[in-house]
Point group: D2
Chain length 358, copies 4
């Protein structure tokens, strides 16, 4: 970290900072500018985060500039090679684009099965569907809970599609992990640290959605919670951020796709349903995500969106979803990729070794 | 709710909407403008929230305008009279300003006791201190947990100050409620609905912090979760929102004070430590909050902020906190209020009757 | 517009609103709900904007909901058919993708000519280059002014590329229009209404950039200023909005592309250089824009970005720009479009008739 | 500035940076950390702004951290003493609180005179009133122009109140300066640099409003434009910023008050009418501003807000404005200040000497 002194800092204030740097076991390196002194604290690593506060209040200190990134395991420096792992039959994070689709909520066995069969036929690789629903209003439909988990498991048996479903509390993790193939952590829970901890101790892949006002760095820090508890299979999901613009439900941060691919080795997908909030815009933004370099999509599909118990406005009908898949295939091929196809070889799996940060 | 049709909606599309309104048991009222038709759905109440999605996807529909507020129990219409309840010896929500102060984290018994005695002497009415800390980094200090709760309980015995401390997960609620006088729900957990549910079933008052990007309406909806599960003692806390401005840690939404007092009967306080992030600005913003109509403050105080394990940059030293209290007293008196003083009579307690929304 | 009364509005307050509606020549339509009365004011059209304020302060009124859009000439309703017009040899707004490229600032004749020849060879359709530069600091390079305009005109002669350059003040419009093919109005001036007025009276096409915190509706209102003064050749440009995210210079609002194409008939382009601020992300976001439905791009290119007097960090080198054009061609073809090619027939030009709003 | 190298930067890349630092006449100072190298460029001053771009694109460079503030004349370092100057009879920037009040727009002589007399009687020190109105819609009332300026001048003769009015374009500056006592630059024009330049060459004080999404640093840079062109009498005005919150028209950035007073020596005022958008909240936020340390207020007042041609929703009636003044007086006295009173001595005027940055 760099400690930038005020322009009128006194020599003894500089000395006090140097002394404190030494007292916490770091090296100090002084740089005398024309206007002011800058002091580098050397040897920081991850511990620097805890040390910043030790210096900001010292007399003569103007501000602190961190130099190291606050996450390690999630960083591209930790693993220059992309993380690739299987989602049932297909690989995520590799050349193939993975599409997860299904209803916002599991409403019944028949509804879920009908939609699952439709999305599978259209080319989806996995099924999404909510059993536990985080709803802004206590008076809204809150999900069917374990009954829905059983429906999802049965539909997986019938269709062969692996299941992605949300977990909302640490104590739900074992139950949801029992039924689901991927644990989804929703945007509102991205900084629910006890939940991240529990998901990190599970053996199931985690689809981590970016919080509605989380920075990209905070998303990577949330991933770091999961990774640092031993689970290396994390999928990052951009799902729109909150801005002043009101013509869409959220603002799709499309920049986040290349930024995340640059900063991290983890797979990155986009949720165009939540990031736009209107079905009319879903296909255009899905195309944009793949063009920008995303590894996949998670899309809400409902065979009867006018009657859906949640998110009807942003759900695609199956026939439109089939068009989306066709267009995504064309975009993927235009940039030298393709839709994911079932893998027979295990050689494609790449996960950084489980070495821990000291 | 109002259903606004497109300018080119066909008569049969209007008829379909009217039919569906009838099918869900509401009344329809048609208004024919020059450009388009607007249809009112009458008889909605709280259920309207679930019905909106039924109409937005219908042919010819342009958009839906909700008319009723989505919260009931938290609203000023539900209780025109301010909610006032005791916080140990003093009332919150009444004429007296309540000041909660203490360290960000409980670091040790001696640290906590020393700060508690200092803030009590300066005039604070309650002690804050974190046992469980939500931290962005998995490598930062995470709080002492139950040990800290025991320290807080002991310090309460010694100083007589009631204790406010954060609870981070539903399963922690019974333990924290055993030790604390007020359960704090932090900004990152404002939409952790299982936690809100658990806090709503507890018998302890809840200090609910606004999420960093939560709208005022969402804050009131989160309060509604707690209220609707039977706990009527909720304190709303503005603690700064996330904007583009980087010169302060957050942007204090001072407008939220009069807006919340207008929309709701619940007590409203401000946390100037988090809403600014710099101790230099804390006192000015604390004064502003009281001038704007807040019922109290929650302030971080540390006797040795350079050595604090968290939030050192925004903590006041005890002597500056004493100045803050004196200035708050002067501002309160300028607007016809004063600092809260211990109550002997129970007649000041006002909580809306526990009638439930049907 | 709809006038929503308070739940406790008195009958005489309702009558007063109805009287005032009549007094301004509108029709009133009353809708009695269970909770409250809603009054429609019929016959508004564009004038409604001025009438809203007449009602919001009346006793018993809760809020006003506008029904009509506040812009007319810019709207898709006004012209269901896309506006298409020539930019020198090529059409913008039609099937072909138009790429505008060049340096941020004109620094010298040789620099401009070298870059212009490079972007032309790579496939660009027009040259961008700043003569007048809006700079946050009064101490930064402010552009070469008229000298730069002369350079641009000469380079156009040599290369045949039409010229897009920014105009910063109303009194500059005639001079800039004398030299340039397209007048650019920058983000900081999107609500400089005297400048919009002057550009509206010019006969040159206008490239209108979205303000850094302008809503999509405000962008269309700014276009309406230009259109309503008689100039129908407006290109809308998304160039990133300001949000809390700091890892990129701005947040590309990719949603704005399909939203603008849906709400308006005007051509829509994206500026991936400003919307990301880092050359590494420019190509990915350019691909995303075309995949989302944009009609073109405006890209900063510099043959020696390390030495550029402005925006070096976000400028592409010519060889990378050539790769961008190749990738854009592939994406365009994947969605059934292509790069624009010179037109010989005038039949492609479509501009809504110059009828004025009454 | 500090140049932070990548963790994998090669020694020759470090050497290249050092060479370029020397080539632009700066000194280089190398700091070797455990992870990476940081290079300080010494001797920068204001020129550093232009140099940043020279380094960001060099091989091995990760990022640039500026050390110096980008503004000089506006900074507290330039003038530790507050700037105080007269606004007709009273001083602004000193101990006394200055209140500017009046209608949004000048609608007629009688309307303006009636309001001016009412606000003067209530205790206002200056009259605001718009002659040129920046309106989002080309179809809204755009102001009466020079006729309004004449009205304002006549009303000043009658009431003795100095006049504050907005100027929207550089060519209007001489005309507006002829009639007005203070030139107002509106939020939408805060980065209209040709206007700032023209205002800087005028001899009238300038009331500079913060742009709706301008950072505090950008506001100070805009002030720097005016100051650097020779006009040292600038009043900074917070008027609310754009955020995701929709319950108020803007979000009052109350933090900006103490931050601006800390970073700059210029007077700071708040506009609670625009920063809230609802008259019900204006008085509470006005009190908050003074409690936070503001030097004054600018408030919209209308004797008949239901009939106002603009901003009726946020205008106070004269009787409520009189209450506001009384409450502001009480708050000011609570913090050791008072309302401004006419000065007879010129000794209170403090403006930094007109030395220019080299």
């Amino acid at each position: 970290m760099l400690i930038i002194m005020k322009t009128d800092a006194k020599p003894e204030e500089v000395d006090q900072v140097i002394d404190r740097i030494a007292s916490v076991g770091l090296g100090a390196h002084l740089s005398q500018g024309e206007e002011r002194v800058v002091i580098g604290a050397i040897g920081e690593g991850k511990v620097a985060l805890q040390y910043q506060d030790l210096f900001i209040r010292m007399p003569g200190v103007d501000r602190i500039v961190p130099i190291s990134r606050p996450y390690k395991l999630a960083s591209r420096e930790f693993s220059p090679q992309d993380t690739v792992f299987p989602l049932d039959g297909v690989s995520i994070g590799g050349q193939g684009i993975v599409i997860i689709a299904g209803p916002c909520s599991v409403e019944s066995r028949n509804q879920t099965l009908e939609i699952a069969q439709a999305v599978k036929e259209a080319g989806a690789h996995a099924l999404r569907g909510g059993a536990y629903k985080p709803r802004t209003s206590p008076y809204s439909f809150q999900g069917l809970g374990e009954v829905a988990l059983e429906v999802l498991a049965e539909v997986r048996e019938i269709t062969g599609l692996p299941v992605v479903t949300e977990v909302m509390a640490p104590e739900q993790v074992p139950l949801v992990a029992h039924y689901a193939d991927v644990l989804q952590i929703g945007a509102r829970n991205m900084q629910n640290f006890t939940l991240l901890h529990a998901a990190g101790e599970s053996q199931k892949p985690v689809l981590l959605k970016r919080g509605i006002s989380a920075t990209i760095e905070e998303l990577l820090m949330a991933a770091e919670y999961i990774l640092s508890h031993g689970n290396r299979r994390v999928i990052l999901c951009e799902r729109g951020i909150r801005t002043f613009e009101t013509s869409t439900r959220n603002t799709t941060d499309i920049n986040a796709i290349p930024v995340l691919k640059s900063l991290s080795h983890l797979p990155v997908i986009l949720d165009p349903s939540h990031s736009t909030g209107h079905w009319q815009y879903v296909t255009a933004i899905a195309r944009a995500a793949i063009a920008a370099g995303a590894d996949g999509l998670i899309v809400e599909v409902h065979h009867n969106p006018e009657q859906a118990l949640s998110d009807g406005a942003q759900s695609l009908k199956p026939e439109r979803f089939a068009e989306l898949v066709a267009q995504i295939k064309a975009i993927a091929q235009a940039i030298g990729r393709d839709l994911a196809t079932p893998q027979t070889s295990a050689t494609q799996i790449q996960i950084p070794l489980s070495q821990r940060v000291e």
